[in-house]
Subunit: 906 residues, 2 copies
C-alpha cells in the first residue's frame, strides 16, 4: 500500500472500497464500490477521492505527484479485466467521467461519456460495433459536451451572451439539417456525421483557439480537471452556502468503463424496480429494450418491453419479455434484485445494460414509490423481518399516506389522458360523477343514488348540504383557502377550485370549456391532487382506511412510538365516530356554530333580531334542547375521551342571509324589512376577522354563553347519571385579555351550580380553558393560565393576526411571496415556525411557568400538517387536533416527530 492512496478501484476482481467510505469516495463512488463489494457486476473503473479535489484547488490546480501513477495503475487493472485498452487503436476502451460529492449537488459537472474516442480509436470502435453511425454520433456528442463543459466552462473562457461554443456547434448541426431537408437528428447519415465532426473540430479551433484533444489521455485528464473545477462553480458554491455544505468536503471523480447495450441482439438495456412502485406488490417490475442505449428506454420514442409477464401493460403486452428472450440473464438479474434488496433493506430502482450477453449493473438507488406502495412495502418488509417497526414508520412520508388514503386517479391510465381543464388542487384525491350545477340538484340526484360533482362559480354556506352529498367540488373561481377549498379539505373531499376555463350557465344547465359543451348529468373525473379535470370516466384506486389491515397495523406502530396525542375536529356524532375509526383519541375542537345551521337557524336569527333581552333569551333558549342532544351524541361517540367544545365564535352577520333572501328572513323572524335591513347594516363589519366574534359575543350577550354552558353541562349530567363516561372541556374563543376569560368562566360556573342543583349532583366534573389565537393572549399567557385549565392554539387566527394578513385576502400576494422566497410556504398550510411559532412557544412557556402541567393542544388547520405537527411535538404540546380524514396522517407525523426528536412520553 502506498503512503497516500488517492485512487480506489471498483468492480472487476479488484474492488477496494466499501459502503462506509462515503466521505472519501463520494455518493456515486461508494454506491459502485458497495455493489461491487457484494459481488454485483458493475463496469469496472476507479474513483479519485475527494481529498484530491482540495489538494488540486489549494495547489493552484496542480495534482499531487502520486496521482498520475495511481490512475495509470487503476486504468491498467480495468484494461486487463476487460481485455481492452484505453487509447488503443484496435480494441479501444472508452470511459465515462463523473463527479461525485458526498451528496448530490446542482451546479456540478455531471457526466462526460465516450471519453477515449479519437481519430486513432474511431476505426477500431467501428470495427468492434460494426456501426459507424453509432460511433460518429458518439464522437459528435463527446465533442459538443466536452468542448462546452471542459474546454470552455472549466477553463473559464469569457463568453458573450449566445456565443458559447455549444450554441455555435448546434447552429452548424441545425444548418446542415436544414440544408439537407432533415427534420430529426436521427435523419443524419454516417457521411453527414463524419462531415459534422470535421466542421466541429474547425469551429472549436476557431472559437476556443485550440484543437479538440485527440488523445485519450488528454481527454481523460481534461475531464478530471473539469470535475474538480466545477466544485468552485458559482451555482455549486451558492448551493453549498444555502445547504450549509462545507467547502472542504470536495468532490470525487469516477472514471468508469463504458458498456453499450446497442451492440446487436445479444445486447440490451433496462430499468427496473425491485417491487411494484405503484402498489407495493412484491413483483419484479421493469422495462427493457434489445439493442438500445439507456436513454432509449426512458425517452419515450420506442415502446419499452416488459421484463417479465407480471409487469406487462396495455402498451407492451404483445412485446417480448426479457424472461422469455434471455432467460439466463433474467435469472441472473432476479438474483441481483434479491441481493440488492437484502443488502439495502429497501425497494431499489436499478439500471442495467447487457453488452453482448454480459449483464452489467449501472446503478442502484432507493426506489421512488407512490403512497399505496410505500405503505405496503413498509408493512411487508416488517413482516419479512427485513426492517423493524420504527424503520417502517420512518419510510412512509405523511404525504404518501395521504395519497394512499384518497381514491386517486389511476396513474397508469392518467398518463395517456389530456385534461379538459386545470385548476388549483384544493382537495386531494380523485373522484368521478355527474355534473350538477346547484346544491339542490346535488341533493336530489344523490337521493336517487347517483354520484355527482357539484360545479359552481364559487360556493357559499348555503351550498353546504349539496357539497356534502357530492363526490367532489369544482369551482371556476376562488383560491386554496376559498370556502369550497376549506370545506372540502375539512371533509377529505376531492376538490378543484379556480378553474378559470369553466364557463358555467346555470339557466342553460351547461358548462363550456373552450369548444366543449358539457350538460348537467355528463360525467367528469377530477384529480384533486393535481388540479386536473377530465371529461368522462377514469379509474380510481385507493386504500380503504376502515378495512385495510396493513394500514391498521402500521398506524398501531405509530401510536406505540409517538409522544403527542391526536384528536379530531368534529361537530357531529357521525364525524366523531368516523374519526374514531381513524384512531382519534378525542375531540380537540367542536365548533358549536355549525350546529346552528339547518332548521335551527330560525332560533339563531330570532335571537339576532331580538329587541329586548327577554326576546333574545327566549330565542336562545329555544336552542338549548337541540344543543344538548348534539352534545350527548358527541360524548357518547367518544366514550369518555376528551371532547373540547368551543362556544359560539363567528360574528352574527354570518347568520344573516344575502339581501335577496331578506323577504323569507322577515317572515322567519317576524320583523319588517326595514328592521331587518337596519340590523344587517348595524352588524356589517369592515374587518370581520377583527370584529365582534368569539367571547366578545358571549360578553355582549351572556345568555348565549349561559345557554351553551347549560346544554353542555346538562348533557354531562344526564350521561353521568346513566353511567356513561364523559370528559367535557369547555373552551372560550378569541380571548385576548384574561378578564374576558374570567367573565365567561364566571357565567359557566354559575350554570354549573344550577345544573348540579337541578340534577341533585354533588360533583359535576368538566374543565374550562381557552383558545390562544389572539397574539395578546400568547404574550400574556402567564396571566391567562392562572384562569385556564387548558390552552388550545387556534393557529388560523394566530397566523392571520400574527402575520397581519387574512386568509381571504392574502391570496392576492402570498403566491408571489412564496415564489420570491419571502415565506418558504403558505403559512396557512404549514405553520410559520420562525414567526407565529415563536408566539406559540412563548405562549406555552409562559403558560407552563405558572401551571407546569397545563394541558396544551392545537386545533387550527395546522393540526393536520406534518411539519406543523413536528413543531407541536418539539414545543411540548400534549395533542394536535385535525379533521377526521387527516387523523391517520397526523398519527404518522406524530410518530416520526418522536423518532426525529425523542421526548419524554406522557
Amino acid at each position: 500500500m502506498v503512503e497516500n492512496k488517492y485512487v480506489y478501484s471498483f468492480g472487476g476482481d479488484f474492488n477496494e472500497g466499501n459502503k462506509d467510505m462515503k466521505n472519501v469516495l463520494g455518493g456515486k463512488g461508494v454506491g459502485l464500490a458497495d455493489m461491487a463489494s457484494i459481488g454485483i457486476p458493475v463496469p469496472p473503473g476507479f474513483t479519485i477521492i475527494t481529498e484530491v479535489c482540495n489538494l488540486f484547488l489549494k495547489q493552484g490546480e496542480k495534482y499531487p505527484a502520486e496521482l498520475k501513477p495511481q490512475v495509470d495503475a487503476a486504468m491498467k487493472k480495468v484494461e486487463k479485466f476487460l481485455g481492452r485498452e484505453f487509447g488503443n487503436a484496435e480494441n479501444p476502451l472508452l470511459v465515462s467521467v463523473r463527479s461525485g460529492a458526498r451528496q448530490s449537488m446542482p451546479g456540478m459537472m455531471e457526466t462526460i461519456l465516450n471519453v477515449g474516442l479519437t481519430s486513432k480509436t474511431i476505426p477500431g470502435m467501428i470495427q468492434k460495433t460494426n456501426n459507424p453511425r453509432f460511433v460518429y454520433d458518439a464522437y459528435r456528442r463527446l465533442m459538443m459536451m466536452y468542448s462546452d463543459v471542459v474546454m470552455e466552462k472549466a477553463a473559464k473562457v469569457e463568453v458573450a451572451e449566445g456565443k458559447g461554443i455549444r450554441i455555435q456547434l448546434e447552429h452548424i448541426m441545425e444548418g446542415m439539417k436544414k440544408e439537407k431537408g432533415y427534420k430529426l437528428d436521427t435523419d443524419l447519415k454516417v457521411e453527414d456525421l463524419q462531415k459534422l465532426c470535421q466542421l466541429f473540430q474547425a469551429k472549436i479551433q476557431e472559437v476556443l483557439g485550440k484543437a479538440f484533444p485527440d488523445t485519450a489521455e488528454d481527454q481523460l485528464w481534461g475531464a478530471i480537471g473539469a470535475v474538480f473545477q466545477s466544485w468552485q462553480g458559482k451555482r455549486a458554491i451558492e448551493y453549498r452556502r444555502i445547504e450549509n455544505i462545507p467547502d472542504a468536503w470536495g468532490t470525487a471523480v469516477n472514471v468508469q468503463s463504458m458498456v453499450f447495450g446497442n451492440m446487436g441482439d445479444t445486447s440490451a438495456t433496462g430499468v427496473a424496480f425491485t417491487r411494484h412502485p405503484g402498489n407495493g406488490d412484491k413483483v419484479f417490475y421493469g422495462e427493457w429494450l434489445i439493442n438500445a442505449q439507456g436513454e432509449d428506454v426512458v425517452a419515450g420514442i420506442r415502446t419499452p418491453y416488459a421484463i417479465n409477464a407480471d409487469c406487462k401493460s396495455e402498451a407492451n403486452k404483445h412485446l417480448p419479455t426479457m424472461q422469455d428472450c434471455m432467460p439466463d440473464t433474467y435469472k441472473q438479474l432476479c438474483a441481483i434484485r434479491e441481493k440488492l434488496e437484502n443488502h439495502n433493506k429497501d425497494m431499489q430502482d436499478i439500471e442495467f445494460t447487457i453488452q453482448e450477453g454480459k449483464l452489467w449493473m449501472l446503478q442502484t438507488r432507493t426506489g421512488k414509490r407512490n403512497g399505496l406502495a410505500a405503505l405496503k412495502i413498509a408493512v411487508d418488509m416488517v413482516k419479512e423481518n427485513m426492517i423493524d417497526k420504527k424503520t417502517a414508520v420512518s419510510r412512509v412520508q405523511p404525504k404518501q399516506l395521504d395519497e394512499a388514503l384518497h381514491p386517486v386517479v389511476d396513474p397508469v391510465q392518467e398518463r395517456s389522458l389530456k385534461p379538459l381543464a386545470t385548476g388549483l388542487p384544493a382537495g386531494p384525491g380523485g373522484a368521478k360523477g355527474k355534473i350538477v350545477l346547484t346544491a339542490e340538484k346535488a341533493q336530489e340526484m344523490h337521493a336517487k343514488g347517483q354520484h355527482v360533482i357539484l360545479v359552481r362559480n364559487e360556493t357559499s354556506p348555503e351550498d353546504v348540504h349539496g357539497m356534502h352529498v357530492s363526490e367532489a367540488i369544482l369551482t371556476a373561481k376562488g383560491g386554496m383557502t376559498s370556502h369550497a377549498a376549506l370545506i372540502a379539505r375539512g371533509w377529505g373531499k376531492c376538490c378543484v377550485v379556480g378553474c378559470g376555463a369553466l364557463d358555467i350557465d346555470v339557466h342553460a344547465k351547461t358548462v363550456k370549456v373552450g369548444n366543449v359543451v358539457l350538460k348537467e348529468g355528463d360525467v367528469l373525473t377530477l384529480n384533486g391532487t393535481k388540479g386536473n379535470v377530465y371529461q368522462g370516466e377514469v379509474n380510481l384506486v385507493a386504500v380503504d382506511p376502515e378495512k385495510n389491515e396493513d394500514l391498521k397495523a402500521f398506524l398501531g406502530w405509530c401510536d406505540e412510538i409517538s409522544a403527542i396525542g391526536v384528536r379530531t375536529n368534529a361537530d357531529r356524532p357521525k364525524d366523531a365516530q368516523q374519526a374514531r375509526t381513524f384512531g382519534a383519541k378525542g375531540i380537540g375542537l367542536c365548533r358549536t356554530e355549525h350546529m346552528f345551521f339547518g332548521e335551527r337557524i330560525t332560533a339563531m336569527r330570532k335571537m339576532i333580531m331580538a329587541d329586548t333581552k327577554e326576546e333574545r333569551e327566549a330565542a336562545v333558549y329555544g336552542l338549548l334542547q337541540y344543543q344538548k342532544e348534539d352534545f350527548i351524541g358527541l360524548f357518547e361517540a367518544m366514550e369518555g375521551l376528551p371532547v373540547t367544545i368551543r362556544l359560539l365564535d363567528p360574528p352574527l352577520h354570518e347568520f344573516i342571509p344575502a339581501e335577496d333572501k331578506f323577504g323569507e328572513f322577515c317572515q322567519q323572524v317576524g320583523k319588517t324589512l326595514a328592521e331587518v335591513k337596519a340590523r344587517a347594516e348595524q352588524l356589517h363589519e369592515l374587518n370581520p376577522m377583527l370584529g365582534h366574534r368569539g367571547c366578545r359575543l358571549g360578553i355582549a350577550y351572556p345568555e348565549i354563553t349561559r345557554m351553551q354552558a347549560r346544554a353542555i353541562l346538562e348533557a354531562v349530567a344526564e350521561l353521568l347519571q346513566k353511567g356513561v363516561k364523559v370528559l367535557a372541556e369547555i373552551m372560550i374563543p378569541i380571548v385576548g385579555h384574561v378578564k374576558e376569560l374570567v367573565h365567561q368562566k364566571q357565567l359557566v360556573l354559575e350554570e354549573a351550580e344550577k345544573v348540579k342543583a337541578a340534577y341533585k349532583m354533588q360533583d359535576l366534573p368538566f374543565m374550562i380553558g381557552t383558545m390562544i389565537e389572539v397574539p395578546r393572549a400568547a404574550i400574556t399567557a402567564d396571566i391567562i393560565a392562572q384562569e385556564a385549565e387548558f390552552f388550545s392554539f387556534g393557529t388560523n387566527d394566530l397566523t392571520q393576526m400574527g402575520c397581519g394578513f387574512s386568509r381571504d385576502d392574502a391570496g392576492k400576494f402570498l403566491k408571489e411571496y412564496i415564489s420570491l422566497g419571502i415565506y418558504a410556504q403558505d403559512p396557512f398550510e404549514s405553520l410559520d415556525q420562525d414567526g407565529v411559532g415563536l408566539l406559540i412557544k412563548m405562549g406555552i412557556d409562559k403558560g407552563r411557568s405558572v401551571k407546569p402541567n397545563l394541558k396544551i393542544g392545537i386545533c387550527g388547520e395546522h393540526g393536520g400538517d406534518p411539519a406543523s405537527i413536528e413543531f407541536c411535538h418539539r414545543v411540548g404540546m400534549n395533542y394536535v387536533s385535525c379533521s377526521p380524514f387527516r387523523v391517520p396522517i397526523a398519527r404518522l407525523a406524530a410518530a416520526q416527530a418522536q423518532i426525529k426528536y425523542p421526548r419524554e412520553k406522557k
Copy 2:
C-alpha cells in the same frame, strides 16, 4: 407626656401636631394641625390617632383605657379656649366628628355635625343664637344623620329594602309638609320642627328599639365608634383592595368645635381661591354670604357675593363685597391667603367662616384649576421664586395643557347655558361658526372669509378639503375613531361626532333638533371637550401657542428635563412648519399617500388601472416630480432635523371612488366601465386591515417603491448640492418578515446608486428602517434589526393585530369592555401597556440585542398620549411622534416621564 399618646389637640393655643404627622393624624387632621401650626385660626379641636382604630378593631371594639381621659382633657382645652362647655345647658359647645384616613377614601363615614345638641343644651343654644328655628333645624338634621349612620349602619342593624331609619324619618317630614301644604323644607316653621323632632324620637325608638342619645357624651362616643367601624365597611374594604391600601393604616377621628356663619350680620361664610382658578391671574378670587352657612354658598339657592371688586361677575356685581362690608376681617383673610400660599407653595382652595366677627379657617387644600390657570400659576410661581422648574413642570397635567391650547367655550358663560344637543367629544376645544352642510359650501363660504362648521351625517375622504377650512366638524353618526374624529384630532380641530339628535336634510338645507329647525348659515358653538352643541354664539378663550411667552418658557423647561425626543407626524410643509413652532424636533411620520390625493390622484388611478408594467410605470413616474417637490418642501421646513418618510401604505382600493362616480373615473383613466368595475371588484377586500397594503404593495409593484425612493433621494441630492442640511429616513411599512424588508431595501439602494450617478455624488447620506406594526415583526425584531437602521412602532396597527380587533369594528363592544373593566381604557387612545406594550418591549429588547444603538420611535396615535409617552420613555425609545397640535402636550409628558422615572439622557 403620657406613655401612649392617642389624642393630639389642634388650634387654640395648644396645637400639638405638624405637617409631618400624616400617618398618625390622617389627611384631615394633619391639614388642621398644619394650619394651626403656622398661626392660622382654625376652630379648635383634637384628633384621635389612626392607631386607635387598629386597637379598637383588634380588641373587639373596645378602646384602650388611656383614651377616655385623653379625650376629656383635650375637650377641656377647647372649652377653656372658647369659653363654652360640651353638654353645658347655658353655654353649650357643639362639635363635628369626622373620619380622616391617610388618604380620602369612599365608603368611610364622613361628617356628623352639631354633636352635643340635646334636650338639655337646646335652650342654651336658642338663647345664644336667638334663632330657635336654626336650632331645631340643626337638631332634626343631627337626628336624621346620627340615627342612620351611627345607630343603624355602624351598629349593623339588619334593614329590609326601603325600611331604613333615614327613609322613614324622611317620610314623616314629607307627610308633615304635605299636610301643611308646604313645598320647601324652609317653609317649615319653628313649631313644625319642634313637633318633627318629637316624632323623630318616637320613630327611632320604635324602629331601632332604643332612644336617641340625649347626652352630649353619649353622642360623641357613638360618633367616634361609628367612624372606626366604618373602616370595616364593605365599600371601604373594596376600595382598599383595589387601591392597594393596607388595612393596617386605619383612620383617625377629628373632633372639632362647630362655628356658625349664620349668627347674625357679624357672621358670614365663604370659599375662595388664592389665585384665579379660571385664568391663573394673581387675584384673590372668592364668594361669600353674610349670615349664612357654608352649604348656602355652594348650593345655588342664594346668589353669593364677590369677596372683592376683582372677582365680581355679571350676577353679583351689584352685591356687597367682603372688602367693603368687613374691611378688617378681609385684610386678615388676605394675610392668611398669602401665608397659606407661601406655606404650601401652591394655589389654595380655602373655606372660612366668620362667627360674630371672628374669622375661622375651616379648610385649605390645593385648588383645582383649568388648563389656562394651571400653566400661568406654574410659570408665575417660578418667576416669584416660590417653586423650581421641575415642580412647575410636574404641576401642569398634560390634559390641562391640552385644554389651554384649544380655544375653549368660556366656562363662566357656559355654566348658564343649556346644550341644544350632545354627542361624543371627538376633538377637544371650542369653536363657533355658520352651519354648512357640504364640503363644497364650506370651501365657498371660507373663501368669502366666513367661519363655518361642517355638519354631516358622517364624513369621507372626499370631504377632507371642506373639513380643512371649517372651524369645527359636527356629525350625526360615527364614534371616537370615525373618519371625522381621526382627521379632526390630527389637525387639532374641534369636533363632535355621533350627535344622534341631529336630523340633517341636505336638500332642504336644514338641521332639525327636536322642534328646533336650523338653516345653513345659522350660527352654532361647539364644546368639543364635552361634546356639547349650543345654538348661537358663545365666547371662546385660549392660549396662542405661537405668542404666549409663558407657554414658550414652560415648554423650554420641559425640553431641558426630558430624555425622550418629540417629533411630529406631518405630510405637508405647512404642517411641518407649524409643528416646528410647537417645538417638534423632526418628522416621525410623513404619510406619502396623502400626497396622492387632489389633482395627483389621476396618476395614481391610472397606475391602478394599468394593464401592463409599462403602462403602470408611465403612470407612477408621472408622480415623481410632484413627490420630489413635496419632499424638498418638507426637508427645507425641517432644516436638517430628521424626516421619516413612510412609503405607500394603504390598499389600492382606497384610491377608487364610490361606484356612483365610476363614470368620471372612466374618463380620467381612459378605461371602460366594465374594466373599472372588474378592477374594483378584484381589489375589493374582505378584511382590508389584513390585506394588500404596505410593503406588500411595494413588492407587488416595485415601480412604486422605486419611484418614491427616487423622489426622496433626488430631493436629498438637490438640497445637499445647494448646501441645505437634510436627514432623510426612508421607512418601509407593514413589514412582518425580514425578507420583505430586504426586498424593498434592495430597490431603494439600487435607486440610490442611480441618483448618485445622475447627480455625480460620492456620497448620498440617508437611513433605511422599518415600521414595527405587525406582531410578527415585534417577535422577530432581532432578525429584522440586522437589516434596519431604525424602528418606528406603528401602534395603531400593532394594537389592532395584537388585540385582534379593528378600530372600525371594535366600537361595537369596546365601550362595554371598558365599562366592565376588561380594558381600563380604549387601547386605541392609550397604549395597552400590559399586552401590546409587552410586544413593544420585546421588539425593543430584541432589536437592541443585535444593534445596541438602534434608533427607536413610535408614530401611532399613541405618540401624543401622555400615559403612552411615559411608557415609551420607560422602555427606552429615542423619540415619540404625534400630530403637530399634540407636540406641546408630548413635550410636557416627556418631561414628566423623566421626573417620575429618571433615565440616562442621550
